[in-house]
Symmetry: C2
Subunit: 249 residues, 2 copies
Amino acid sequence: MESERTFKLTLAYDGSAFKGWQRLPGKARTVQGTVEAALARIVAHEVEIAGSGRTDSGVHADGQVASVRLRTSLAPERLRLRLNAELSDDAVCLAFEEADPRFHARYHAIGKTYRYLVRDAPLRDPFTARYAHHVPARLDLDAMRAAGEVLVGKHDFSSFTNLKPGEKSFERELRSVAVDRSGDIVGIVFTADGFLYNQARIMAGALIEAGLGRLSPGRLREILDARDRSLAPGAAPAHGLRLESVRYG
Amino acid sequence: MESERTFKLTLAYDGSAFKGWQRLPGKARTVQGTVEAALARIVAHEVEIAGSGRTDSGVHADGQVASVRLRTSLAPERLRLRLNAELSDDAVCLAFEEADPRFHARYHAIGKTYRYLVRDAPLRDPFTARYAHHVPARLDLDAMRAAGEVLVGKHDFSSFTNLKPGEKSFERELRSVAVDRSGDIVGIVFTADGFLYNQARIMAGALIEAGLGRLSPGRLREILDARDRSLAPGAAPAHGLRLESVRYG
């Protein structure tokens, strides 16, 4: 009998055709369910993977991380090739590494970076429509950066989450917010020790409002201090968001 | 009764979810059928548009041109906004201009530019998979340019087309072939007075073979001179191809 080994997987996926990360009962296509089924075909036993966190339906990933225990004698690089042969074009395993037996992708994550893409041009573009939220007016990047500065730091982010029952603490440390432009695509990059449910999308929505001149830094600070979800702007759409990377100690 | 006016439309579309340009009977979603139906809803009469040419199923366009006659008093800019409101995210009307009453997008085209995208990196990428053909080995751009030079000029391109009955002449003037790189994406740009059926994809297939070191300029010249389709490499996949622009006098 082969001994059990622990692996760390780094995955990229286009979230458009997935119903989010988390395995669901029935036929819904999810990233977790798809990767688990693919690995099970390779190692011929039931497989459960643990993601660093769930991505919502439609959210993409450049560097989602998952941990998994497998009974196999295959080398990690061989496992990576086999897994990629099982996956379809919209998901790829970038790295498959042997890890400490106790490694857990969620419990051991110490930081995450999300990137939100906005296309700010008059006309929509069919080729970026799946990956960037379109706003038909030009964004003011300096105003977005000023709004980002309000949010950076250790705060109670109650105003920037859609409550999930059982959440123990609403405090997170937002380490940085960066805003960049490449042509018509504006990127908003959030790095934090962790994110509350929908937090990245709600913060992106607030920065977009700021960039459109409809939300001042002062008003944003009031919203943050109020700890009241009903005050913050709506979450920006899922398809503009991507989990860029997960940090471990 | 409103008088009939002629318009020139410039369209961009992601070809992934279209069964090509040409209207088909039944429920198949095509670009021509979709745009005609959208315009018919706006002007309230049957509409027939003429494209500069057909794009195959899966082929994209950055600047397809079509002509159409409409009975309407609406201004072109208003028609463009109305058309874009009718179309879904994977197609957009970039320009809607009033044209000479005799303008015809196919008969009056004097040149076309196609771009073929290849991603030459070991791993596939979910975010470019719909728009760039993936080859897992690095391409030699100088070898591709040398192959391109063989093809440039006025030639009988019988070796580079899949025959369609009724084609009168196989002579076309390939005005230029350019090869560029942006990161892992290699672009092959063909400009000609016109293209035979599948010609751009078969030429792209030949240049990719050249870039992989499997087809020499000398052998390519033999294939061109032989006027025999069975000798040329297979057509590169449709999803890497995009109609970049159409030129008029």
